[in-house]
């Protein structure tokens, strides 16, 4: 291990211990120091990366060394960047609404189009295709019955969850508005599927946290082993 690697390894060890101090001491200055240092370093790193990998190679350098056509094309993003800086000053912050509107509009259009073409339609087709036994390769392994059970289970879970989030009610005279009975019952079943999904997500989160802990302990053990301790 080189000296630089040793220094960085020692610094990593120190910061790891400071973070783990939260287990024993709770919220303490050592934990906060490590947390603040992480946040600061991460923010600074983002700024540097943005300037080094975005602004400089894609805006400033072409404006300096690029052709005239390239410069003209870059005038629009440059102007939008300058207008976006107006958001820092309350007096002229309204000027920054133009690039903000452009950013939000573009992001919304891309996201909605992607969600429609990449999630909604393919997922709907996937749910329906489970009943296509001819094209389902799982028929050979689990049989037709197994495939149908799987398809019905997924379909029932999907519909139950969708009905759980159905908040429409029917108004009746002199009676409080409430959902139809069959929707309420299916919605209760949808809660079951939602609980299972949340349980899986929580298990994944806990697993990810345990894995991070294991990685840190492994790092400490490896560090001390390399030191010969």
């Amino acid at each position: 291990m080189s000296t630089v690697e040793l220094i960085f390894a020692a610094l990593s060890l120190l910061l790891t211990i400071l973070i783990l101090s939260y287990l024993v001491l709770g919220d303490n200055p050592m934990f906060r120091f490590a947390a603040y240092a992480f946040i600061g370093v991460a923010a600074a790193y983002v700024v540097l990366v943005t300037f080094d990998q975005v602004l400089w190679p894609k805006l400033i350098q072409p404006l300096i060394n690029g052709t005239m056509e390239r410069r003209i094309l870059l005038a629009t993003p440059l102007l939008l960047c300058l207008l976006l800086l107006a958001k820092l000053f309350p007096g002229i912050s309204r000027v920054g609404n133009v690039p903000m509107a452009y950013l939000v509009g573009t992001a919304a259009a891309v996201t909605i189009g992607g969600a429609l073409m990449g999630t909604l339609l393919p997922q709907s087709l996937a749910t329906a295709s489970l009943f296509d036994l001819s094209s389902n390769p799982a028929v050979e392994s689990v049989g037709v019955g197994g495939v149908l059970v799987d398809a019905v289970y997924i379909l029932a879970g999907t519909l139950a969850v969708l009905l759980y989030f159905y908040f429409g009610t029917k108004s009746r005279p002199n009676q409080p508005a409430r959902q139809p009975g069959w929707i309420e019952k299916i919605g209760k079943a949808g809660q079951f599927f939602i609980a299972i999904t949340f349980g899986a997500l929580f298990a994944g989160v806990y697993t990810a946290a345990v894995t991070a802990l294991i990685e840190r302990v492994s790092f400490l053990v490896d560090f001390f082993r390399q030191l010969g301790i």
Binding site: V46, T50, T207, A208, V210, T211
Partner: protein, 747 residues
């Protein structure tokens, strides 16, 4: 210093001022100068005038607020001052009578002091002598148009008998009884010297001859007084007290023969200046002629004063009788000329009002008050009083279809009336239950105020203790496998289908296949993601695929370098081409999130033009040589720890990939449940998640990696965690059961 009060603004001014120093109104009336001018023709005060007239003059001088003087203070035209002169002293006489009436009730009976009879002849003014002469002439020569009645004839007897039999009927209201609120004149009170006369009304009315002998009459009255004189005086006195002929001054007695006694109501004498006389000025007094000569121009008829404003019609019967018995032919010419003007001027007495009636067809024309006089009226006469408002409710509609109707609703009665909104006092009237709640609430507040004994804080709370215990257990479960090297559980033998599909997809890659690797995880989950992705990346390297790394996270490129460094750290021959950058190109950070990713899909060379390491053109490097579009990539590998970033890649990349280019996903354990749905939809061709998935993939490759080395710790920690969860749940259930049992026992 003597001061006088301005009649206009009521402010005090020095006596020598002729005009008010505040409003420039004239303080000394022009009449005063006229009097001065008339000293040559008329009797001088204190010298030739009777003493009682002097006293009246003095009284007038000191009564500055008298309406008559107020009117005289105005710059009246000189033409009006002539008639005003004889009227002024008569007006003073009226005022004297009024004042006497007002003080009569309080003062004891005092013997009236009659003024000495003025000296006949030179002391009389010329106009008065003319009057006397005209009267004497009228006695001899009847006026034109009047039939001559011979004395002792039947016609005379009938006329006289008619007058004698004509009983005086006092009017319902005095002739000058006008509404005081309207600023009109009170009925003339009897002067004190009239009260001294014995009551001879009955005799006068009955037409009996006067009881007084000629010797009893004074000298000034004894000259040719007709027998009807006492009757006339009694009628003029409205029957209250007959006037003793002996007490009438001689100067007045000279005039009485020309007028029947009953034709001299006191209201007639103060004939106020009615207007401009068109009669020859020979009949006017000299002082009047002189004043007219000094007048700049003939003004409009003298405006009505408040005391002349009649709102009510004159007492018709008496006034008509007086008018009939006081023909114009018997008046002096200059006085008779006032007749037409009097119809337009305000009616002062019944005579003038009657004259006005004749000219206006029986209706007395309402007098117009001048603006300066309206301004002087008391505010009470202008402001609507409640009574006036009630009267306004009965007003007559003048215009419109409701013309002639009374009591109609006004156009905007309520809009114009504003009043303070009523104020209501909201006083709570609590019920018994509210009172009970109030007492309970007060008890609660009182209990809160009492200090409660504080429980002694322990050195460490149970929650913190349990947290420490769990932390120690987990740390021990992690450390023990690394320290001891003991394998508590075997490596996973169950191979998920998605992991097998991933292996199959990578194995199907051709040599030098172009693979796009997306690194979309954060440093906090780098340990898990490196354990999960190390086997897959190593498999790609083993297949000799060219790797192009891109990330939409700023920290992604650095984490990618760290991942590849860990993978290539293992001593393998195929790693050499990746450490030199021949088959690995880190394109760095792709700004813009979904938009940047879409831009990369459409124009990869423009979206990520440079290498991360040296900034050189990435697409000229050996790793990316021959790649111009997204279709040139043979496989797409996404390494993500977040479902959102994974879904972005799936939504933006997957629909535009080639049909034969598989999309593989390496995710963290927390994102796997969501991304696995894309696996079921055939959008993802292979999936491996978390440390477990990485370990399984390493088992498939038979190439141990970081996942395999951490598997024992992972399994042990998960086992301890499971035990802790089970024990905690059991303890919680037991405590709840004990609490419920205790509660039941207490119940």
């Amino acid at each position: 210093m003597e001061e006088i009060r301005c009649p206009m603004c009521s402010k005090l001014n020095p006596a020598e001022n002729e005009e008010c120093q505040y409003c420039n109104a004239r303080l000394k009336p022009l009449v005063a100068s006229a009097e001065g001018a008339g000293e040559q023709a008329g009797p001088q005060e204190g010298e030739d005038a009777p003493e009682w007239i002097n006293r009246l003059a003095e009284f007038e001088d000191h009564s500055g607020d008298e309406p008559a003087k107020t009117a005289a203070d105005q710059p009246a035209p000189a033409a009006d001052t002539g008639p005003a002169e004889p009227g002024s002293w008569l007006a003073r006489l009226q005022k004297d009578v009024e004042k006497y009436e007002e003080s009569k009730a309080d003062l004891p009976a005092v013997e009236p002091e009659f003024p000495a009879s003025p000296a006949a002849g030179d002391s009389l003014p010329e106009w008065l002598r003319n009057v006397r002469q005209a009267a004497n002439r009228d006695l001899v020569e009847p006026p034109l148009g009047v039939p001559v009645i011979e004395p002792g004839s039947s016609e005379e007897d009938a006329w006289l008998e008619k007058l004698r039999n004509q009983k005086f009927e006092p009017p319902e209201k005095p002739i000058l009884d006008v509404n005081p609120d309207a600023g009109l004149v009170e009925p003339p009170a009897e002067p004190d010297w009239l009260h001294a006369f014995p009551d001879r009304k009955e005799e006068s009315v009955e037409g009996e001859p006067a009881a007084s002998a000629a010797s009893g009459l004074p000298e000034w009255l004894s000259g040719g007084a007709p027998s009807t004189e006492p009757e006339a005086i009694s009628d003029w006195n409205t029957g209250s007290q007959p006037v003793q002929p002996a007490e009438i001054p001689d100067w007045l007695g000279d005039e009485t023969p020309s007028h029947p006694a009953e034709e001299q109501p006191v209201e007639e004498k103060p004939a106020l200046p009615p207007g401009i006389s068109t009669e020859p000025e020979v009949d006017k007094p000299d002082w009047l002629i002189e004043l007219e000569a000094h007048a700049p121009q003939a003004p409009a008829p003298f405006p009505a004063s408040p005391m002349l404003n009649f709102d009510q019609p004159p007492a018709g019967e008496v006034a008509a009788r007086v008018e009939n018995n006081f023909p114009a032919e018997e008046l002096p010419d200059w006085l008779a000329s006032f007749g037409p003007a009097a119809s337009q001027a305000p009616a002062v007495d019944g005579t003038s009002a009657q004259a006005g009636d004749e000219h206006t067809g029986g209706e007395a024309a309402p007098a117009d008050l001048p603006s300066w006089l309206r301004a002087m009226r008391p505010i009470e006469t202008v402001a609507p009083s409640p009574a006036a408002r009630r009267e306004s409710d009965q007003r007559e509609e003048k215009t419109g279809p409701l013309a002639g109707l009374r009591g109609t609703l006004p156009a905007e009665p309520s809009l114009a009336s504003f009043q303070r909104p009523p104020s209501y006092i909201a006083r709570l009237q609590p019920t018994e239950n509210q009172e009970r709640y109030k007492s309970i609430f007060e008890e609660l507040i009182a209990n809160e105020k009492e200090p409660q004994p504080t429980r002694a804080a322990g050195l460490i709370s149970p929650q913190r203790l349990w947290r420490l215990i769990i932390a120690v257990l987990l740390l021990a479960a992690v450390v023990v496998p690394f320290v001891t090297g003991i394998s508590f559980l075997p490596l996973p033998g169950l191979l998920p289908q998605e992991t097998l599909d991933m292996q199959t997809a990578i194995d199907a890659l051709p040599a030098n296949a172009m693979v796009l690797v997306g690194v979309e995880y954060e440093p906090s989950l780098a340990g898990e993601m490196e354990s999960a992705a190390a086997g897959v990346v190593d498999h790609l390297m083993k297949k000799g695929a060219r790797l192009a790394v891109i990330s939409t996270s700023p920290t992604g490129p650095a984490l990618a370098d760290r991942l590849f460094d860990q993978v290539t750290a293992l001593p393998e021959d195929y790693h050499a081409s990746y450490t030199g950058g021949e088959k690995l190109a880190n394109l760095g950070y792709l700004a813009g999130g979904p938009a940047g990713l879409m831009d990369f899909v459409l124009r990869p060379q423009a979206a990520a033009p440079a290498m991360l390491d040296d900034g050189t053109s990435a697409w000229q490097q050996p790793a990316l040589r021959g790649v111009n579009s997204l279709d040139d990539f043979s496989l797409f590998l996404l390494i993500t720890d977040d479902q959102q970033s994974g879904r972005t890649w799936l939504e933006q990349i997957q629909p535009r990939t080639a049909a034969n280019a598989p999309l593989l996903v390496v995710s963290s354990a927390q994102a796997a449940p969501v991304l696995s749905s894309y696996l079921d939809g055939r959008q993802v061709d292979g999936l491996t998640a978390g440390l477990a998935g990485g370990t399984i993939y390493e088992q498939l490759l038979q190439h141990p990696g970081p996942g395999t080395g951490r598997w024992q710790a992972f399994v042990l920690v998960m086992a301890v965690s499971l035990v802790v969860i089970i024990l905690g749940t059991a303890v919680d259930l037991i405590m709840e059961y004990l609490a419920a049992r205790k509660a039941n026992a207490e119940a």
